[in-house]
């Protein structure tokens, strides 16, 4: 439902129509119970007909209001292909640095493995601009998109969970931070490479994947860890240790990639040759100018407002026409 609207929170504005309609009908009924019996079969219009007209009109107006509120929430459904000219490539690495990334089911540990993997990729993306986002409880841009490989390597060599104080694991916030970090005036293709085990304590990676799809960027998820996983002490300072087995959530990560669309890709970081798949995805866009087609949602203001106007017109006509017919 929320993917149908750019600003689903505005849908709440549709709700006041219900108490308003109830208010009008209750008030009408209270008044009608006092005066309509006197009109029954004597007035120009039977009481039942009047009441029905009021109900129809009130419901139509309430529905029309709801549709205008829906239009305010920026509805869009269906997609169209838009040609987009691109030149060069920009790649943002999103490194999940939550505590689950410190376990050693891949040597030496997941985070060091991911950093080394990212370092190899950065060296291969010769003509691309590369940046780094760190994700823990929240996502922070650590290195903006740059051609300066030295800065990228320096950070990858020093990366650790202590670099961010926010607790938890929220790779989705890393994706959101990455999306916000692509300069609008850049003609380069946009690729986000997420290194994560898929453990999530807050936020929604799938929701962020939808944002990636809308932005036209490509998402590459490099799964770090194993399906067997390894136990981690959840509260290391507590007197009694509480162990939790953290595993690579491959199905979850594949689902995020499916949602992100735009030629997105999932690879298991432990698979031999997985880096080549990532490199070939970005390599295609590093050199020269090209025209690509981006799938984008179609706004439906016109359709929703047309329905609202029809309901409004029905409400206007309902009372009057019925009355004229019965007179």
């Amino acid at each position: 439902m929320t993917s149908l609207f750019d600003r689903p929170e505005y849908l709440a504005l549709a709700l006041p129509a219900i108490p308003a309609a109830v208010f009008v009908l209750v008030r009408w009924k209270r008044m009608a119970s006092l005066v309509l019996p006197a009109l029954l079969n004597t007035g120009p219009r039977p009481a039942v007909s009047i009441f029905r007209a009021v109900v129809v009109r009130t419901v139509c107006y309430a529905l029309a209001w709801m549709l205008v509120a829906c239009a305010f929430a920026s509805p869009r459904w269906g997609t169209k292909l838009l040609p987009v000219r691109q030149e060069g490539a920009s790649v943002l690495f999103v490194l999940d640095i939550s505590r689950s990334m410190t376990v050693g089911d891949v040597a030496p540990d997941r985070l060091s493995y991911a950093a080394e993997y990212a370092s190899v990729l950065a060296d291969r993306f010769v003509n691309a601009r590369v940046g780094i986002v760190l994700a823990k409880g929240s996502g922070i841009l650590a290195i903006p998109l740059t051609a300066d490989r030295r800065s990228v390597r320096d950070l990858l060599n020093a990366v650790s969970p202590a670099m961010l104080s926010s607790a938890g694991s929220n790779p989705g916030s890393g994706l959101e931070a990455a999306l916000a970090s692509f300069p609008a005036s850049s003609a380069a293709s946009r690729t986000i490479v997420l290194f994560t085990d898929g453990d999530e304590t807050s936020g929604s990676l799938l929701e962020a994947a939808r944002s990636v799809q809308k932005s036209g960027a490509s998402l590459v998820v490099v799964g770090i860890g194993t399906e067997e996983g390894e136990a981690i002490d959840v509260y290391p300072g507590a007197s009694e240790p509480t162990f939790y087995t953290t595993r690579l959530q491959e199905d979850f990560l594949r689902q995020a990639v499916r949602i992100a669309g735009n030629g997105s890709l999932y690879v298991n970081g432990s698979d031999a040759g997985s880096a080549l798949d990532v490199i070939s995805l970005v390599d295609g866009s590093q050199n020269g100018s090209r025209m690509v087609y981006s799938r984008t949602g179609v706004y439906r203001y016109g359709e929703v407002l047309a329905a609202a106007f029809l309901l409004f017109a029905a409400g206007c006509v309902a009372g009057g026409r019925v009355w004229r017919k019965r007179m």
Partner: protein
């Protein structure tokens, strides 16, 4: 220039006068019925008081305005904006900015030297959307805060958060120049330049400024050096980040311009004195001339849609109209 994606919707603007005509000609009728309301010996029933007439007028105006806005929104108002697109890295320009406590001296038209430098950098950055801008801070140590990037928002965000004393009390100018050069020597940029902004002499760090400056000559990196501030007694006001204490007083501002000129000469660069904001602007103008901005690759047409604000206003006016009619006037039907 605003155009409309679905102008046919404007036909709906005829609906309101049409509705009025249908009511007038009694093709449509209102929901109404005759009813005698009276109270023996009571005051006369005034159903059409001036206040109610005014409230009714207000309700009608709100409603008509809301309907007009909703119809306009349905017509799809849109403005097409031409946006310049840049490919490549453009020129690589790093600002090496002294953040020692003396940069807090308030002798730049009432503002501090650091504020004047930041303001100049911001204006310069706004004119260079296609170039890669970086930031090096110089204190008793030197650090690359932002690598050369075209992400203007990230660059400006870090520039704004830069504060006096962030890297200690000294001025490691040589180290700062070396750090900046190290991130430009890869020749990833169409042109490379460093703009050094300081008010002191090199008094910290392991690298002599002239040694670092020779790197610039070797690697073809342009260097612009500017000495910010005036000589003599100047007021100082800043908060020491290490203690949190506010420091105020007078500073005897003395620095050797010759030392800064020597640095510029060693790099085949430029030295300019900036005793005030106007002179500082000239430094940026000179840099702008010497390192031409990246040319845009092409322009793309972007849509700016206006449905949402119009619908927001329409909803507010519809709600106000309802409130006036139902709650203020107490309309029953």
């Amino acid at each position: 220039m605003i155009s409309f994606a679905r102008p046919l919707f404007f036909v709906l603007l005829c609906a309101l006068p049409l509705y009025a005509v249908l009511l007038k000609t009694r093709i449509l009728g209102r929901i109404e019925f005759p009813l005698t309301i009276g109270d023996w010996d009571g005051s006369p029933f005034r159903w059409n008081s001036p206040a109610l007439r005014f409230a009714r007028f207000v309700a009608v105006v709100f409603f008509v305005a809301a309907f007009g806005l909703a119809v306009t929104a349905a017509a799809g108002p849109v403005r097409f904006i031409q946006e310049r697109m840049y490919s490549g890295n453009g020129a690589g320009i790093i600002f090496a900015l002294d953040v020692s406590p003396s940069m807090a001296a308030r002798d730049m038209q009432g503002g501090s030297r650091l504020e004047a430098a930041k303001s100049g950098i911001r204006s310069f950055a706004a004119q260079r959307p296609g170039d890669s801008l970086g930031l090096v801070a110089i204190g008793s140590d030197a650090a690359l805060l932002v690598p050369p990037t075209r992400d203007e928002a990230a660059f400006l965000s870090r520039l704004d958060s830069l504060s006096i004393g962030e890297l200690g009390d000294g001025s490691a100018i040589g180290l700062g120049l070396a750090v900046a050069a190290a991130h430009l020597v890869d020749r990833q940029y169409s042109r490379s330049a460093v703009i050094l902004m300081t008010d002191g002499e090199n008094n910290a760090g392991e690298i002599h400024p002239n040694t670092a400056a020779r790197l610039y000559h070797t690697h073809g990196i342009s260097l612009f050096v500017t000495g910010i501030g005036t000589r003599g007694e100047v007021p100082v006001d800043y908060t020491d980040p290490s203690t949190g204490n506010r420091v105020t007083g007078m500073l005897s501002s003395e620095f050797s311009e010759n030392a800064l000129k020597e640095i510029a000469d060693a790099a085949d660069g430029y030295y300019l004195s900036s005793p005030d904001s106007a002179s500082l602007e000239y430094v940026f103008d000179l840099a702008d001339e010497s390192v031409p901005p990246a040319a845009s690759s092409w322009t793309r047409t972007m849509e700016q849609r206006f449905e949402q604000p119009l619908l927001g206003a329409a909803l507010v006016l519809f709600a106000l109209s309802w409130i006036v009619r139902r709650l203020v006037m107490g309309a029953l039907i």
